[in-house]
Symmetry: C2
Subunit: 465 residues, 2 copies
């Protein structure tokens, strides 16, 4: 047995698992490409151990032991990441946050809820919902992802247009830094006390520390909600409707535009062929929700939007997190993935068309489509889905070609390469197009300063030097 | 003439000033303590030169030359900082951003406006206002501060409760890093592409780079605005009214509660003695502003709030940025400063009382008061003003004692030590109470990684090791 394993077991006992089932279950996340190589039968290496500390002190101890033994640490939450942010190699140790789980404190006066970082998103939301509150973060992965994973990847939820993304929802954070020290940000609603150090952990994808505790600033559940939808001549007109809704200051939690293909896929019975469906949820005090719904309806109608059947919208809410597994799709001969990017309003439709054109040039492509689900004053995201059926031998290369096409289209238009899934392994070669060579160097220096031996989740985020 | 000066003059010519008037005018900011020591006659050292580059490339060149000559660089914008963030010593070079000035681009479709970092806040706001837009950042210093200074200090404006603080208003940033490279963040509405590197510059106070260009995501000027105010039994009831307004989701741009002393100072004719005045501005589409104003009035009345005269509120808006200069106050024998802190709703009134008690224990104190001007879901800020008349010889020690009292009160209650003025020199000894020893070490490592020789604004932000 290796020395690091002996030291971990001596210090942490039952928190250390080395059985093959545990190693296999924790070695990676839900990256489509990892699933595909597994499915194709590529023999995958297993990590040395999975450590599941049940306290921050234990997590810090695990980090210190791994560091002392020059052993790489791969932090894993729910494993729902789709960018290859978790892919443990031989001789590496997986640090699972799942032992740091549950609601630690709920302060109804101050709207604060503190969770262990390994709490599943749905469990966290349910815990505060029982008392009449909401975290307001509704990623499609809510049942599969942890609140610490939301921080580590800068996750976004379906209600982000009103409620913001993870960085807007957190109040304070605790994390074990690469040197084993425990950082806790000041619990305060806002500070001008140097750079916001929480931001080094938000999006760090396990490279700069292990998030161990998360406090959210909650909202009371809305007094009133109104759902409505409109279908538009085309995607570009739908984008223009989104822009005109956001511009004067309306903030519906859900503003979600499906292109014609996805509209037909989701709303076959109610959305005419070739038209783009735009869904809204208005929420808040009744007077606010009603004023917003009325104003939004006027904007949409002026752009030719036709009101859609209410049942349609309810159906979307009921089934919005239901998706087939990668494996079900592989079995049908399909290699599939999603890619989210973002840009300003002006370039959004160009980015939509350029990216689809790139997909369509890939041999074996059978479907490509997009929706926009997160709107801001100056732009929005696009969330593409591609599917190719190039035959078993062509699946990996089709996958890589679709990603390359999407990343190049974003780079050529000056768009952001990642809206909310993160970088992981799948995007890291394009980091310099996102933040420039000076930005990559900046991140590299910060990484070197905090983790000089490169032991925290090596192989993600930063491109090869 | 020193070698660095010769090199700067050879490269940058007229951008380099060494006349005494320039050196004197740029050597410090508007920290009350610096003003006081000047007024008391302490002979102040002057920097070596003031360099005012007129392009980012020139700024980068200046940084590289200073670095090559191991010369400290003190970045200065409008000089309106009140924490001693700018205080240039002998042999140091002041880098003024004021040559990087003006609106470079206004995109009305995407609500984007790009400015040189040295653009004065009021000039920036006026430039977009002329086309019907607003940046939405209204610090009291708006006529005296630069947009780059807003970034470097994490400034907040009077309308922050709806529109957010500087970090919520920026779209992308450009900065010269300590190594002379030029970082530009990706212009995109939102990203999950590693840690948000802009956040290293937000609040960096000149220690991690020189912000050279700022793009804001604008808002159209509001269709409708409604002003109203209420006076309350006491400060604690006013705080409760603020909390109950924010809680269900209302977001008036201005939510501003004056304690009884400040209410009498500002609204002598309309606010009964001993009562706390709470001012609101509701803005946006007319239906939204009207719904919000009506709901807020109900909340305030239920808590015993009595509507104040409308003229009162208009007077506040007309005169809100009028303050006497430190020097006028010194001449009256008064040493005066303001201190802003923040905490959750639960502790806000305790922090108010504890801090006032600390001030009142300082010999010579003649006045202490506070207001709250920035509200969040889980808490708000407090903005204290103290005035002491301890005689000329006691002014410095009274000043230091008031600051020490306020910082200790915040630390004892676990409150945030700085809401929006920054750390500079006046708060740096308390940084460990804000972010803990691991947070200070984290910041120190980042600083060391980016600026290994410690040449960018030494002496601020970080406590002595």
């Amino acid at each position: 047995m290796s020395k690091v394993l002996a030291a971990l077991e001596a210090a942490l006992g039952d928190a250390v698992a080395t059985d093959e089932a545990s190693l296999r279950a924790h070695r990676r996340d839900y990256w489509s490409r990892s699933e595909l190589t597994d499915w194709l039968g590529e023999s995958a290496s297993l990590p040395l151990a999975v450590v599941t500390p049940t306290s921050t002190a234990e997590m810090a101890e695990a980090v210190r032991i791994c560091r002392a033994h020059d052993t790489a640490m791969i932090t894993r939450g729910g494993g729902s990441g789709v960018c290859g942010g978790v892919l443990a190699g031989r001789d590496q140790v997986v640090l699972s946050t799942r032992g740091l789980s549950g609601l630690e404190q709920l302060d109804e006066h101050d709207l604060l809820a503190t969770f262990g970082a390994g709490t599943m998103g749905a469990d966290a939301e349910n815990a505060v919902a029982a008392a009449g509150y909401t975290i307001g973060n509704w990623p499609q992965s809510i049942a599969l992802s942890t609140v610490g994973g939301w921080v580590a990847t800068r996750a976004s939820g379906q209600y982000s247009t009103a409620y913001g993304n993870t960085e807007d929802l957190i109040y304070d954070l605790e994390a074990v830094l690469p040197d084993g020290s425990i950082f806790r940000s000041r619990p305060t609603p806002r500070a001008a006390a140097g750079p916001d150090l929480r931001q080094l952990l938000l999006g760090s994808e396990g490279t700069l520390g292990v998030v161990t505790r998360v406090t959210f600033s909650l909202r009371p559940q809305a007094e009133h909600g109104i759902r409505q939808a409109f279908h538009f001549e085309d995607f570009a007109t739908g984008i223009e409707a989104m822009r005109q809704v956001i511009r004067p200051g309306w903030r519906p939690p859900v503003v979600r535009l499906y292109d014609a293909r996805e509209s037909r896929r989701h709303f076959r019975d109610t959305c005419p062929k070739g038209r783009a469906m735009l869904i809204f949820l208005h929420e808040g005090p009744r007077a606010l929700a009603e004023a917003e719904a009325a104003a939004v309806a006027v904007i949409c109608r002026e752009l030719g939007g036709e009101p859609a059947d209410r049942q349609t919208v309810d159906d979307w809410f009921a089934h919005r997190n239901t998706v087939p597994s990668w494996r079900e799709l592989f079995e049908q001969g399909l290699v599939v993935d999603t890619i989210e990017v973002a840009t300003d309003w002006r370039r959004l439709n160009d980015l939509y068309e350029a990216t689809l054109a790139r997909f369509e040039a890939v041999p074996g492509l059978v479907a490509a489509s997009a929706h926009s689900s997160h709107a801001y004053r100056s732009g929005a995201n696009l969330y593409f889905t591609f599917a190719a059926a190039p035959g078993r031998d062509g699946m990996l290369s089709a996958y890589d070609a679709c990603w390359q096409g999407a990343m190049e289209a974003a780079a050529e238009l000056g768009a952001g390469i990642a809206h909310h899934h993160g970088i992981g392994r799948v995007r890291r070669a394009w980091m310099a197009t996102e933040v420039g060579a000076p930005g990559v160097e900046l991140l590299r220096r910060v990484k070197q300063a905090l983790d000089p031996d490169g032991l925290m989740n090596p192989g993600v985020l930063l491109p090869d030097s």
